[in-house]
């Protein structure tokens, strides 16, 4: 089976055939084993071992961690990739953007109001977690549509804080 793997802005074709893989035109031996008693796996590619932990989020989405760095990896077969290519245009929607809480915490201050124009990098909400205040910044220039939280409110990870366009 041939897969197209997206990782860190690169696209790498990997054809899997038993204990052999063909990647960027060259065929190599490869195995992926679980390390007993741990959550780790070990990849051996042409005799070169790499320790990894991997979690699947389904639909070919993998989170792969090695030596403390985590990478979000997408593994698609050719057919899915083709279909994805046909529908990608319509899937990219225009519309309001939202600032979400990157972690659970407590809203200390809201720095903007509905109707405010903000520039990319401007502080929107100050969120406290682990006794540190973290200023969450606008990811892009725009106008605040709605403020969904107020000072003193506890928020969950991923919760909508500010909507803007």
């Amino acid at each position: 089976m041939k897969y197209i793997v997206g990782i860190a802005g690169r696209e790498i074709e990997v054809e899997v055939d038993g204990d052999r893989v063909t990647v960027i035109g060259s065929t190599r031996t490869a195995s992926l084993r679980s390390i007993p008693g741990t959550t780790s796996r070990q990849l051996v590619l042409d005799g070169r071992p790499t320790g990894l932990t991997m979690r699947s989020a389904g639909r070919g989405q993998w989170s792969v961690e090695t030596r403390g760095d985590r990478w979000e990896v997408e593994v698609l077969d050719e057919r899915t990739r083709h279909i994805r290519g046909l529908t990608a245009g319509s899937a990219r929607q225009r519309g309001p953007k939202t600032l979400r809480a990157p972690m659970p915490g407590l809203v200390v201050r809201v720095l903007v109001e509905t109707g405010h124009a903000v520039t990319a990098g401007a502080g929107l909400v100050v969120l406290e977690a682990m006794k540190m205040e973290n200023e969450l910044k606008a990811p892009a220039t725009g106008v605040v549509r709605a403020v969904r939280v107020e000072a003193g409110q506890a928020v969950e990870k991923g919760q909508e804080l500010v909507e803007f366009e």
């Binding site: 089976m1 897969y3 793997v5 990782i7 860190a8 690169r10 790498i12 990997v14 899997v16 893989v21 990647v23 960027i24 190599r28 490869a30 195995s31 992926l32 741990t38 959550t39 780790s40 796996r41 990849l43 590619l45 070169r48 790499t50 320790g51 990894l52 932990t53 991997m54 699947s56 070919g60 993998w62 792969v64 961690e65 090695t66 030596r67 403390g68 760095d69 985590r70 990478w71 990896v73 593994v75 990157p102 972690m103 659970p104 915490g105 200390v108 201050r109 100050v126 406290e128 977690a129 682990m130 006794k131 540190m132 205040e133 973290n134």
Partner: protein
Amino acid sequence: MKRVLVANRGEIALRVIRACREEGLEAVAVYSAADRAAAHVRAADQAVEIGGAPPSESYLRIDRLIRAALDTGADAIHPGYGFLAERAAFAEAVEQAGLIFVGPPAAAIRAMGDKTEARRRMRDAGVPVVPGAHEPVTDLAAARSLAEELGYPVLVKAAAGGGGKGMRVVHRQEELGPALESAASEARKAFGDASVYLEKLIERPRHVEIQILADRERTIHIGERECSIQRRHQKLVEESPSSAVNGELREWMGSAAVAAAEAVAYLGAGTCEFLLAADRSFYFLEMNTRIQVEHPVTELVYGVDLVREQLRIAAGEPMRVPAGWLEPRGWALECRITSEDPANGFLPSTGRIEQLRVPGGPGVRWDGGVDAGDEVTLYYDSLLAKLIVWAPDRLQAIDRMARALDELVVDGVGTNQGFHRRLMADAAFREGDLDIQFLERRPDLATPALTDREAVALAVAAALAEDEARSLRRPSVSNGDHINPHWLNRARLEGLR
């Protein structure tokens, strides 16, 4: 002294329990509802639940800690660092209950705890201090004129502060108001005291601190630690000795620190923090009247167990450090492994630690506070463990740290491990060209990077994992000779649905 209650959690609680064991003392752990199965609880001889998960309901409850000590027959309380370690009221309450406080007298904590008062005393004792106000800021207009007088940039600091909380750098007048407000609000939350003061910002200084140890006979310094690798005033990497300090400067700074400690009749282990400018002038910042997070680097180069010395001194015995000249031997380096994910803007990461593989081998020390299976919550500090190495010189220590970081596996919560790996490989860091703004100039160290070869390896691993996951989902229908035709038929019907 036979039994010590450890009024803390995490790695420092475990560190103190270990020291108690080696001193032949029993250790009593305390824990909140969130820490019932925590590593420090498992390590102690006895353990007492003292309240709910928020520190204000447990680790900050003086009454419950003293009750727990009396109930378990403990005769001393070790506060660790953070929580109540620098609250004079706690030291007093411990003594009033007839118990020994493992730390300095309450009066010394109080004198050094009020940063404004401490600076005044230090100036009087001849210890150099950074120019600035000696009074808390009361209104914006006064703060503005003071800032003009000192010249921008200025630093806003919490009077009751420490650990970088309630601290802001202000470059321009218009930033002063918001900085005062947010520093005061952070200070109120962290220390229950919103007062802040202003001082001149010394540009590109190093953070160099002197370890102090005092018993009833003498006060000595045990060399310096360099802690310039900081992010938002939180130390991330510490080392001893410092590449900026030679024997002569060490004695100057050491004598200033000893003078500072003697000025408040200090007892036990403490640390004087200094800013060291490029011209080798140095300024007293504050004294931390407790054991410091980064104490192990001093222990490794001076061969002194600071926590055991604290216990001995608290028991009324003299320190075991011989009188006379102390020389650092080799180089020690510490990386704080925190549950902060650099790839996510250093935001705290929570969850269960699914796996923990601790580095080992020559010259490696792991002072940890968590085990596999433990939950990392938002209630407490993000420090999971300290990875410390010793080697004959600085570059060998850095290489050893890089090797140890490669061995470390923490699965389940994001950590700053990758950041530390990149720092160890960084040319400027290896040169020893440090100052406290080092990390501000180097946001790239927080960002993971992949070589082509690593990208190929990860892509192959992901493809193999996906292939395996699919083959487990797929009903394996081969050419079917040995398969019951009835089941084959079922499978075909399922497939047609």
